[in-house]
Structure formats: C-alpha cells, structure tokens
C-alpha cells in the first residue's frame, strides 16, 4: 500500500488498457483483456481479474453486462470458472444481460476501513440479483450516476427488492466496474 506501489499499478493498468483497446472477442485473449490492479489514485481498490473473470471486465469496458454461460447446456454461472457444474462442459459463452436487476441485500460499512473507503463512509454495498438470471448476484454499489461517489445515494433510499439498472464506471486503475442506479431515482 505504498505510494510507489500505487503508481506502478496505475501505470500497468494504463498500458494494458491502451494496448488492448476494445477486444472483438474478450474470451479469445482473457489474460490481456482486462488487468486492473491494486488501487487507483482515488485510493479505491481496482479488481484484479483472474483468467476466468477477465472477460467480464473486458465486456464491462464496452458498456456490456455479460455473464458466463455454458455453451452446451446454457446454464449461467458466477463467479466465472473453467467448466460447467451442471454438465461439466468446458465450452462457454458470455451472454449479454439486460442490465436490470433487484437489490437482494445491502450493507453500510463504517470505519475502521481502508482510508479511501473511510472518507466516503458510510457508503453502501449492494448485492444485485439479475432480472435475466435471478441466481446470479453481483456485489456492487448503488450510486446516483456511474461516476458518483460510493455514498451518493442516501441510505434511506435503499431497500431490498428495489429495481436497479447497471452502469459502468472506469476506475482510476483503468478497469471498468459495474455499478447500479435506481430504476426510479
């Protein structure tokens, strides 16, 4: 968590982003599709995708919410992994979701927290159940706009069951994460 580390990570992220651009098929080269890292200059942690999870972030960078599905039996699965737990097939495709969902639960962290998070605390973390695949639940933040602060929606506006839609935020680590907006702000 030193300043040196942060700079190094930001540099790596930037390089990866420019060389990769918008991949035609993120699954074709998952290792370079999206590499985040450490924390951005805003101090928030950027995801560090592994080989299986990388396409998710590459699609997010294009403004698409996609979920890994079995190419043989069609079953969606999350988190991404090498093979299908239902039919054991190793073939997968990334199916585009509508981006709509509902809040399954939420929590409001207070300090002690890592400094950048403490600055925004209490903020919300929501778990969103996807409308197209109810058993797929994504951890994220409910925000007023895609690039707004983690505490930009007042806690009293948050309720379980509330309909939400996906938004895409490019982190300082140059990796795009999915965030959530209330359908009825």
């Amino acid at each position: 968590m030193t300043q040196t580390d942060t700079t190094a990570d930001a540099t790596t992220g930037a390089t990866t982003d420019t060389t990769t651009g918008t991949p035609a098929d993120p699954t074709a080269d998952p290792t370079t599709a999206a590499s985040g890292g450490g924390e951005g200059s805003d101090g928030l942690l950027a995801p560090v995708p592994d080989e299986d999870g990388s396409p998710f972030f590459a699609y997010a960078a294009r403004g698409e919410l996609r979920v890994q599905c079995c190419a043989d039996c069609g079953e969606p699965r999350f988190p991404p992994r090498p093979c299908c737990p239902h039919c054991q097939s190793f073939d997968c495709l990334w199916k585009r979701m509508s981006g709509r969902g509902r809040i399954w639960s939420y929590v409001l962290p207070h300090p002690p927290l890592l400094p950048a998070y403490a600055e925004q605390a209490p903020y919300n973390v929501v778990l969103v159940e996807l409308a197209d695949a109810p058993r797929i639940r994504l951890v994220g933040n409910l925000v007023a706009t895609a690039d707004a602060a983690l505490n930009s929606v007042p806690p009293e506006r948050i309720r379980i069951g509330a309909p939400v839609k996906a938004a895409f935020h490019a982190t300082d680590g140059r990796l795009t994460v999915v965030r959530w907006l209330l359908e009825r702000p």
Partner: protein
C-alpha cells in the same frame, strides 16, 4: 446430485460409527487472554500445548500427531521441536480459518482411531488483538475471488456477514433485539468467567442499541473481540483417556461441511445463501450420533458475529428454517434456558481465538467445571465458523 448424496448417506453411518466415542479429549490448556500479550505466537502456542499435556498427565515426548488450521502462524515443525515431541506420524492443517477449529479434533480423532498416531495435539495461537487485521492486506487478496467483492467496499468479514444479516432480517423478521439476545447471553457468561476479557464489563440493551455501527446492520457488540492468546487440547484413544488425570470427554461425532456451490465467506452465489455450511456439517454430524439436537445440554456455537448464531441454530436443527432469531427469545440461550450458549463467553465476550475456546469450554462443561456450569451436562455441540467451509463436534461425557 441427489443420487450422489443418497449414496453418501448409505455409506456414511458405517464410516462415522468407527469414530463414535473411539477417542476422547484428555487435556486442555490455555494462556491468559488479552488485547495485548508480550509473548510471540510461537511461545503462546507452546505454553498452551504444554498446559494441555500437563492437564492430561501425558509427557510431551509421547505426542506423535498435530493438527492446526490455516491462519496459524506457528507450524507443527516449530511446535514439535520446541515442546520436545517424539517422532510425529500424523500432521494436518485444515483450510478456511475459523471453519477449521473443530476439524482439528476430528482429524486427530480419525488418526488415533485408525492407529496412525496415539497422542494428538490441536492448538490455536493468535495475536489478533495486537497484530494486523487480515482484511487490511487487501492487495494480496485481490487476484482471487475477492475481485468480485473487495473493490466495492466489501472489505471486512463484518461487511460480508452484514450483507447476509440484512437479508436474513428482511426475510424472517429478525431484529436487532434478536442479535442483542445473542450478545447478551455471551456477555452474561463472560461476566461469570474470570479468564474472559469481558469478565467485569456487563452489557445492557441501552449500550447495545446506542453502540457505534461497524457495518449496518451490525454494531460494535455484534462483532467478536480482537484477542491475543492460545489454546490447545490433547486427543487420545478412549481407552487411554480413562487412565489420564481428567475425566474423559468423548468425541462422539465429528463432521466437516462444504456445501455444493459454496463460495468462501461471501456465499452469495448459490441457490440459497442463507443455508450455509452448517447445514452440510449438521447432516453428517447427526447421521453418526446416538442423539439429536433435542438432547444437547449445552452448545458452543461459533460467534464471530451475532447473526451466525440464529443461522447456526437453524443449520444444526435446533429449530426450523427462519426460526433461529425467535429461538433466542425468552432467555433461551442463558443458563437454565432451552439451549445454554457459549458458556465461557464465546468469541463475542471471552476471547476471539478463532473458536478454539469453544472446544475447551465444551470440555469443561462435560467435566462439570465450567464457570457458568450447566447442571449435569452430558452432551455438547461445538461448531466452527459458519459462512465458511466449516466443521463441528458432538462431545459427550
């Protein structure tokens, strides 16, 4: 899936029956508990282990098996040479942190029952009170499944369990008063236990309701302590235990549990996140036992966070799904209640040493030497961390 499960059920009892009462916990030991202890984890581990061996009346040179669980900094190699163990023929380290506490005893019981070893030692040494908090090492954890949770600010175990707790409250009408019931029962017992960190610190509803938030809906008192300290226990054959210094406490049944499609502590990605690993461990535990939940005299249930108690009460079959919160009403968890809980004070009020104090307290209750003794207790459930791949024990006197 269904076919696999029923096959396991058919072969299970035979395998489990071989373990039933074949071994016993013959000795227990511990260091003082405090927010800050001067000695190293290795030193504390050795002190606790030697105390447990002395309690059993067994020489360190006779120890030939060790079991620990992850996040333990002291290796068995270090412990074995420090205490003067003889040739070691069995060693095991169980994964997933706090979910492994009871599994250490289970592994030793299996080793002793199958003749792989004769004197086993399990231990936990931690400097959590004065050492770094594991969640602050986020960089190392990021290129893992944490890529799906940490960046969004789900940073600490309290945040992860808080998310489940909120859903549990929503689905079943559980309230903060229910969580308070849990915190209070543990604190009341700690107030009877001079070794407990919270021995002289009574808790009131007012204190609970006005405490600062850690991760809403969880407040300060919904969270376990941060403690320095170490504990250990000695496992030998039932036959050997009868010749030891203390009354034997038999390992009646033991189980581990990692449910289908389970995912670490952020278990949000299976069909039913509110049905945690305790359900899996419980099925196996009861399958090989001579008694059921209604016959448990006292329970030591892993309490890193108060909501784990209602979830575990449901998982281990003390009540039906969704009834765990209501179960805590009317003093049910207090001495004299339906199911006296965490009689040493638990992780919430005695010490948070990754649940190992629940094992030693279970032993004390069945010896009849608890500081908040349940009169005539002969059966005890001990559980390890819920929410992570877990383990559990049924002990009997």
């Amino acid at each position: 899936m269904g076919a696999t499960r029923s096959t396991a059920g058919a072969t299970g009892p035979t395998a489990g029956a071989a373990l039933k009462d074949a071994t016993a916990i013959a000795g227990i030991g511990q260091t003082p508990f405090a927010k800050r202890l001067p000695e190293s984890e290795k030193t504390l581990a050795c002190r606790a282990i030697l105390a447990a061996l002395d309690d059993a009346g067994i020489a360190p040179s006779e120890v030939d098996a060790f079991a620990s669980y992850t996040m333990e900094e002291t290796d068995e190699v270090e412990v074995a040479k420090a205490i003067g163990a003889g040739e070691v023929t069995f060693f095991s380290k169980v994964g997933y942190g706090g979910g492994g506490s009871c599994a250490t005893v289970a592994h030793l019981a299996a080793a002793v029952a199958t003749g792989q070893a004769s004197v086993g030692v399990a231990w936990r040494s931690r400097k959590r009170g004065s050492g770094p908090r594991p969640w602050t090492n986020t960089r190392a954890q990021l290129p893992t499944p944490a890529q799906w949770t940490r960046p969004y600010g789900l940073l600490r175990p309290a945040d992860e369990i808080g998310l489940l707790a909120r859903r549990y409250m929503h689905e079943y009408g559980a309230t903060r008063d229910h969580f308070f019931n849990v915190a209070l029962a543990c604190r009341n017992r700690a107030n009877q236990n001079p070794a407990a960190i919270m021995y002289d610190r009574p808790l009131t509803r007012e204190m609970y309701m006005t405490a600062r938030w850690i991760s809403e809906p969880l407040c300060l008192f919904d969270n376990c302590l941060e403690t320095d300290g170490a504990l250990a226990c000695v496992v030998v054959s039932a036959e050997r235990a009868r010749d030891c210094r203390q009354r034997p406490v038999y390992v009646h049944s033991a189980a581990q549990g990692l449910p289908a499609q389970h995912h670490g502590m952020v278990n949000y990605w299976n069909d039913d996140p509110l049905t945690g690993p305790s359900w899996t461990a419980a099925r196996r535990l009861w399958e090989t036992a001579d008694f059921g939940p209604q016959d448990v005299d006292v329970a030591q249930i892993y309490d890193a966070f108060t909501p784990l108690i209602p979830l575990s009460l449901e998982g281990y079959g003390f009540c039906a799904r969704g009834e765990g919160a209501a179960f805590t009403e009317g003093g049910a968890l207090e001495i004299g209640g339906r199911l006296p809980l965490n009689t040493g004070g638990g992780g919430l009020s005695e010490a948070y040493v990754h649940g190992f104090n629940l094992i030693t307290e279970g032993v004390r209750q069945l010896r009849g030497t608890g500081t908040a003794q349940v009169p005539g207790a002969t059966t005890c459930l001990v559980t390890a961390g819920e929410g992570v791949p877990t383990s559990a024990l049924l002990l009997r006197s």
